[in-house]
């Protein structure tokens, strides 16, 4: 009996964790490569969810089909964001704090734009994938499993891309040593724009995947933004594999403590876990030692 509940909690925790992983991988890539703390990441994810809502209402798209539209559009949007907002600020000698300020302004724009169109009524999408599926003794909605599989698949592709392709190596070089990367002839501006594109695309895709089973509101992004920060810091800010494992870990902790300690205490518990990790390993579980020294000056 109680092992059944435990299995149910573990499965649903991991399913949610998969989405956390995807959002956080995007955030951590952007930070690792450009050192910009993107406070608009959560609201970009929320926009991804609303994009799925629009595509369903206007064209009858299934959210899984919408991914094919959302991913490229958000990628271009992210690159545009880097070129139009972040790059001019960098050229004007803006500090990391000024960049964070600009992304806060942007998140206010995103949130109020959505609130303007949909007021604060909750929105969601319907997927053709419906019904339950049994995983061992646990039973979960098939659409959650589909979202999890897609999220993990994208994360895995992302990881392979960073590990084995030329561009992926260039990203890692840039996050380790900016000057060195430029000296060996990497196109920094292009890589910055690309990293923003990929990061925002991850957020948008996660939002779309979330839309069939999570009620969307204009401010839904704040929660996911805080989760993404926690996950990427636990994994080591800038470390994509760290973010992937951290996401699953946080999903698990949240689901278990929500049940065993009390509703909505899940968040409190993982936030305390987070502080405990930072206390013992300031660079995060997978961060390079000393990487906690980067950051805002």
């Amino acid at each position: 009996m109680s092992t059944d509940i435990l299995a149910q909690l573990v499965v649903s925790g991991l399913l949610l964790g998969g989405l956390y992983s995807l959002v956080s991988a995007g955030l951590t890539l952007v930070f690792g490569v450009t050192r910009v703390v993107n406070f608009a990441h959560g609201s970009s994810m929320m926009l991804g969810g609303y994009a799925a809502v629009i595509l369903q209402k206007a064209l009858g798209f299934d959210p899984l089909l919408s991914l094919l539209v959302v991913a490229p559009v958000f990628m271009l949007g992210g690159m545009g964001l880097e070129v139009a907002l972040v790059r001019p600020l960098r050229h004007r000698g803006a500090t990391a704090l000024a960049l964070a300020f600009a992304t806060i302004g942007l998140s206010i724009v995103f949130e109020s734009l959505v609130a303007l169109i949909w007021t604060s009524e909750y929105q969601s999408t319907k997927s053709v994938i419906s019904g339950q599926i049994a995983i061992g003794p646990a039973s979960v909605a098939l659409v959650n499993v589909a979202a999890f599989v897609v999220a993990i698949l994208i994360s895995a592709i992302f990881y392979v891309f960073l590990r084995f392709t030329h561009t992926g190596r260039a990203f890692r070089a840039l996050s380790q040593d900016k000057t060195g990367a430029v000296v060996v002839g990497l196109n920094r501006n292009l890589l910055y724009a690309l990293s923003f594109g990929i990061g925002i695309a991850c957020a948008g895709v996660a939002g779309t995947l979330l839309s069939p089973f999570y009620p969307l509101s204009p401010f839904a992004g704040t929660h996911f933004m805080i989760v993404a920060f926690v996950v990427s810091l636990i994994g080591g800010l800038g470390s994509v594999p760290g973010a992937l494992l951290g996401g699953l870990l946080i999903g698990l902790v949240e689901s278990l403590s929500n049940y065993y300690i009390g509703a909505s205490y899940g968040t409190v518990v993982y936030l305390l876990v987070f502080v405990a990790v930072l206390w013992t390993r300031p660079a995060g579980l997978f961060g390079a030692s000393g990487s906690e020294e980067y950051g805002l000056q």
Partner: protein, 351 residues
């Protein structure tokens, strides 16, 4: 009292404080109607809060979790008033003490971290505090706490807006005076040294962790005081009004727009942004309730693109006045400050 501590009273920031105090008194005396009294109240309160937040930033510690101290102060003062009938005047200081204790508890683990890691860790803890308060029956859970309208000086509840205006002006002037005194003191010098180069400060004998923690606790205490004032003004608090991400953002926006780590930066930021929001609200909300927030967000982003180093820094470059330092410093200190200021200019991200 030594000569050193006397000379601080004549220092630049304290003289500027006197001018600001005179200007504030003039504003309070000349304010034409209740609408402007409300706006002015908000400016004073949030300029004071952002200045309190900024004391931690003297040492380079940028917190995204000061809503925990504001909320902690607000809930302490209000619960003491509602449950035990203790006057908010006492409750305000009790709230400050609770906020200082929270600041110590949060600062102890978090101040080992630097830069954005510190900011995000404090954000996480303030979220944890928000959720705990929002689920705890004792604190009114999600429903929040209502303060009954019983006007009277001892209840810190006033019939007219003028009472609240005076209260917030007093708070603002107290915080900025403390902030100016700290900035120009030896303690402030240590903090500025830490901000410029923590290792160098450590090697020169500054107990960096203790100084950072002291600044953080002082900053939390002063922020906590504002909680009770705000609660008695609104006569209602819940976790959205005092603990939310929106509150955490305000400290940061005013501080960074004005000029982080300077005495007057947060005040300048609040004086610009709060009326701006009002003006946008007045003119844009004819279209829609939400449209003004959109315009405000866009203006925020554009402003920081135009003034990436803050308003004060831009003004300084415009006037380009020769720097004057009226606090007498020893030769070593002069060298130290010169190094600190050089480093301060170099800490920007190279493009």
């Amino acid at each position: 009292m030594s000569l050193g501590s006397l000379s601080i009273l004549m220092s630049g920031n304290v003289r500027r404080w006197a001018a600001v105090a005179a200007l504030s008194a003039a504003c309070v005396a000349l304010v034409p109607n209740d609408y402007y009294r409300t706006v002015l109240f908000t400016i004073f309160l949030f300029a004071g809060m952002a200045s309190a937040w900024n004391i931690a930033a003297f040492g380079g510690q940028v917190s995204f979790g000061h809503a925990a101290f504001f909320g902690g102060g607000a809930y302490t003062g209000t619960l003491l008033f509602l449950r035990l009938g203790i006057s908010p005047w006492l409750g305000m200081f009790a709230g400050g003490v609770i906020a200082a204790a929270l600041g110590y508890a949060i600062g102890l683990p978090c101040l080992r971290l630097r830069g954005i890691f510190l900011g995000l860790a404090t954000l996480a803890l303030s979220e944890a505090a928000r959720i705990m308060v929002a689920t705890w029956e004792f604190t009114g859970a999600y429903r929040g706490l209502y303060v009954p309208f019983k006007p009277g000086f001892e209840n810190m509840i006033f019939d007219s807006k003028s009472g609240y205006l005076l209260l917030s002006a007093g708070y603002f002037l107290a915080v900025t005076l403390i902030s100016a005194l700290v900035y120009d003191s030896r303690f402030g010098l240590h903090l500025r040294g830490i901000r410029a180069d923590e290792e160098a400060a450590e090697h020169l004998g500054v107990p960096t962790f203790r100084r950072k923690l002291a600044a953080f606790v002082l900053s939390a205490f002063l922020t906590g005081l504002a909680g009770t004032i705000y609660a008695q003004y609104l006569l209602f608090i819940d976790t959205e009004t005092v603990f939310s991400w929106g509150i955490n953002v305000q400290f940061f926006l005013y501080g960074v727009l004005g000029g982080l780590g300077t005495v007057w930066g947060p005040t300048v930021g609040a004086v610009i942004l709060i009326p701006l929001l009002e003006i946008v609200r007045e003119n844009v909300s004819v279209l829609s309730q939400q449209a003004y927030v959109l315009v405000y967000g866009a203006i925020l982003t554009l402003t920081i693109m135009l003034l990436p180093r803050g308003v004060l820094s831009a003004l300084q470059r415009l006037t380009a006045a020769a720097p004057r330092r009226s606090t007498p410093l020893g030769r070593n200190q002069v060298a130290y400050v010169a190094k600190a200021e050089r480093a301060e200019q170099q800490t920007e991200v190279p493009s």
